[in-house]
């Protein structure tokens, strides 16, 4: 065993311990616990001590016993330093320590004698650290959004770091922000508008996109190459360069402030990507199947409905979900084209809340949760389809 490896091991692992504990401390602070310092020195030092012990502690002792012993000692010292904090904080610290010490004992000590031991150890811990760090950084804003919606303005003013949610209060006070958002701010109506626009966009896009994609994928006609390249080019033109001409024309035609106008725009902007994604998939379907269809005397409608559609359901599902996501999340056009609250979509409504009179932040966040949750549910539930939609369609974003 090399001294260098041991030093790297203990330094890196103690840094890892420090970051784990820090994240836990931040989360505890946000539950209203008074923690005034992250205490880098102490945790770093304990990390080093624990890692060295884990290397040299006698192999005769039972592993489970060792792990629990080290973790308990650490938590006891932690208790003496921080004083009396709620018991759940220490339980959490204890669990983190169990995880950490267990990791150390399970660490393959063979790695120490490899040529690139420092690098290997670094990579191993970086991976662990990275997973926790990335999850934390990604989830934190979502967590904040959710807990803020359950607080009140007054409580947040008293202690802006206390996000603990009192679950013992009755349901009505707990969900007050949501009730207000749906009754006073009319979010039910906006949700309906958003759903109409998004679902409508998906349906029209598919109705127009599937035949067009089929033609581009399968049929020979003049202008086909031009069409398939221009799809991609058009697709890359951003909304911001379309917004001024569309605004002036729609104003003169009186199409602003209508859900219908928005529907046309969304359909037109999502059609290129839908065609692009679908034709790629249609090309992968064996041609023989269609030839069999032609033998049976099917026309193109029959071929699309009876042969192509059943075979490409997964691809159509990805396109539908991707288009739904774009339409549901769209902001710029809804900002430019909707002025009267009766035609607002959810995104526009939340922006209106923020710009307008001083809306209490818990209402703003409740609104944000209302617009975010459906799309996240859909994503988690249909992850497979949406991910393939994202990968094949996301030259856009």
């Amino acid at each position: 065993m090399r001294v260098k490896s041991i030093i790297t091991f203990s330094l890196i692992s103690s840094f890892f311990l420090f970051s784990l504990i820090s994240i836990w401390k931040i989360l505890s602070t946000l539950q209203g616990i008074e923690l005034k310092t992250l205490n880098f020195n102490f945790y770093f030092l304990s990390g080093i001590i624990i890692s060295i012990i884990s290397i040299f502690l006698s192999k005769k002792l039972n592993k489970l016993f060792k792990v629990i012993l080290l973790a308990s000692i650490f938590v006891l010292i932690d208790y003496f330093i921080n004083g009396s904090l709620p018991i759940w904080h220490y339980i959490g610290t204890f669990l983190i320590l169990l995880f950490f010490v267990n990791k150390l004992f399970n660490y393959n000590k063979k790695h120490f004698s490899y040529d690139f031991s420092a690098q290997i150890i670094f990579f191993d811990f970086l991976t662990l650290f990275g997973i926790i760090f990335f999850s934390f950084v990604i989830l934190f804003p979502f967590y904040l959004m959710l807990v803020t919606s359950f607080k009140t303005q007054a409580l947040l003013l008293i202690n802006p770091l206390d996000f603990s949610v009192d679950l013992t209060q009755d349901i009505k006070t707990l969900f007050k922000s949501y009730i207000v958002v749906f009754t006073e701010y009319n979010f039910g109506k906006y949700m309906l508008n958003s759903s109409i626009v998004s679902v409508g966009t998906v349906i029209i896009t598919l109705l127009l996109g599937i035949p067009a994609a089929y033609a581009v994928a399968r049929l020979n006609f003049f202008g086909k190459n031009f069409l398939s390249t221009s799809i991609l080019i058009i697709y890359m033109f951003p909304a911001i360069v379309l917004v001024i001409p569309l605004y002036t024309v729609f104003s003169q035609l009186g199409l602003r402030n209508s859900v219908f106008g928005l529907l046309i725009i969304y359909t037109a902007t999502t059609l290129p990507v839908a065609i692009y994604m679908l034709q790629g998939y249609f090309k992968s379907i064996p041609k023989e199947l269609e030839e069999a269809g032609i033998m049976d005397g099917q026309n193109w409608f029959g071929i699309i409905v009876k042969i192509i559609l059943p075979l490409s359901l997964p691809a159509i599902a990805s396109v539908a979900l991707y288009v739904f996501m774009i339409a549901w999340n769209e902001f710029l056009f809804s900002l430019m084209f909707l002025d009267s609250p009766s035609s607002f979509t959810l995104s526009r409504a939340i922006q209106f809340l923020n710009v307008g009179a001083e809306t209490p932040r818990q209402y703003l966040m409740a609104g944000s949760v209302v617009v975010t949750l459906p799309i996240l549910f859909i994503f988690v539930y249909f992850e497979k389809y949406l991910v393939s939609g994202l990968t094949s369609g996301s030259v856009k974003g």
Binding site: P211, I244, Q252, A268, S368
Partner: protein
């Protein structure tokens, strides 16, 4: 035979593609071309309404004379800047009345008053009065007069369709002292946003590519920022970063890491001292770039992960036998395997970040040195209300975009040739 078949095929193809092509043409291509048109015109936001003649009808009874009635029309040209030609007016009245001393411009025919007002200059206003009395001396019914509304027609030029063009918009855009700064800001935002997203994408993909418990959970979580609506995320970040009540500042204050709150979204520069040298960092811009990276690295992650999973395991095993360390393996096996994905990803993300509007608009509104070209389109066109200028700025975007696309398609073509 085969000729007629191919004819049918062609006809079918046109029938299938036509609806999609038409709608895309109307909503996407037509605006791009009309942008060129508008950018050479001096148009203000308030001009785009076509001027129309308007009339407000007021019915007044006359004291002590209940067989007569006075009707006032407040006439005006809705536009403050354009004339209306050949204004025609007509209104309908009950059958038992007739007008007294009707204005010379008007005629009374079968219960209708028809007038020819001629041309109205801009800001034109007139109080037009007609008296009526009953034909047979009956008492007059005021309500009957309120039933109908006057009808006005006139001809006016649509300012968008006139043929005066000017280069002044482009001159203003390019000679504006902020233009260089604008380009620079856009470039910083686009470049660092793209590079950051790709770097974090590589890091996270490298991590998730290993086997561990909860891997699929981590994979879905990483995609959340990309899937969730911008509006919700931007406002949450605003709450997080707020200098007074924001969580981040309060946390940092709580742990005594800083001693006074930092206005991460509202401060243009921050001075950083490194070895005694002072560096000025664009603070708000950096924050916006970080948001950008946070929101879009999942996409890079997705692409790179898919590529990493396709790298043959044998390559790594062979490297193990050769005694290569993790760093060498990453540099010599992983990186060459993903360069193709990265270069395409870079171009795509570069183009899209270059066009990004919502993120900055929602976070800072383009204040404190975060104004990029797309934000400027909105600013010129809708905040200042100069549609022509806004269009000129979007033309600049389109030109740069075409240039980037050229590079992108060359890149794709090269890749296609290689494989």
């Amino acid at each position: 035979m085969s000729n007629s078949l191919s004819k049918i095929e062609k006809r079918t193809a046109y029938a299938l593609t036509l609806p999609a092509v038409l709608i895309v043409f109307a909503i996407v291509l037509f605006p791009i071309f009309s942008n060129v048109w508008i950018s050479f015109k001096e148009v203000q936001l308030k001009d785009i309404r076509i001027p129309e003649p308007r009339a407000k009808k007021i019915v007044k009874s006359i004291k002590n004379e209940d067989t007569k009635i006075k009707i006032i029309y407040k006439l005006r040209n809705s536009s403050l800047i354009q004339d209306i030609r050949d204004v025609k007016f007509h209104d309908k009245f009950p059958s038992n009345v007739k007008p007294i001393d009707l204005d010379q411009r008007c005629k009374f025919l079968s219960n209708k008053v028809q007038c020819d007002f001629g041309n109205w200059s801009k800001k034109y206003r007139e109080q037009f009065v007609i008296f009526f009395e009953t034909k047979n001396g009956e008492k007059i019914d005021k309500k009957q007069f309120k039933l109908n509304k006057p009808n006005l027609k006139g001809k006016a030029d649509n300012i968008l369709l006139t043929s005066d063009f000017t280069l002044s918009n482009f001159k203003k855009v390019i000679t504006n002292y902020e233009f260089k700064d604008l380009l620079l800001t856009t470039f910083y935002y686009t470049f660092f946003g793209t590079v950051g997203a790709i770097v974090f994408g590589i890091l996270s993909a490298q991590m998730v590519n290993q086997k561990f418990r909860g891997r699929s959970f981590v994979r879905s979580t990483l995609l959340f920022p990309y899937v969730a609506p911008v509006v919700a995320l931007a406002f949450t970040w605003e709450l997080l970063l707020d200098p007074n009540s924001g969580t981040l500042n309060n946390l940092l204050l709580n742990y005594s890491i800083i001693d006074k709150p930092i206005n991460l979204l509202g401060q243009k520069y921050v001075s950083i001292f490194v070895f005694g040298f002072e560096f000025k960092l664009r603070l708000a811009l950096t924050t916006v770039i970080i948001f950008e990276i946070w929101r879009y690295f999942p996409l890079a992650f997705l692409f790179i992960l898919a590529r990493l999973q396709a790298v043959p395991k044998e390559l790594y095993e062979a490297a193990d036998i050769d005694g290569a360390g993790p760093y060498t393996k990453f540099m010599n096996i992983t990186l060459p395997q993903i360069t193709a994905v990265i270069s395409i990803l870079f171009m795509i993300r570069f183009i899209w970040n270059f066009n990004k509007f919502e993120d900055i608009f929602l976070l800072t509104g383009g204040a404190s040195g975060t104004r990029t070209l797309p934000i400027n389109v909105y600013e010129q066109g809708f905040s200042i209300g100069n549609i022509g200028m806004g269009s000129a700025v979007s033309m600049v975007i389109v030109l740069l975009l075409l240039f980037f696309m050229l590079i992108y398609f060359k890149l794709i073509g090269k890749r296609a040739n290689e494989s």
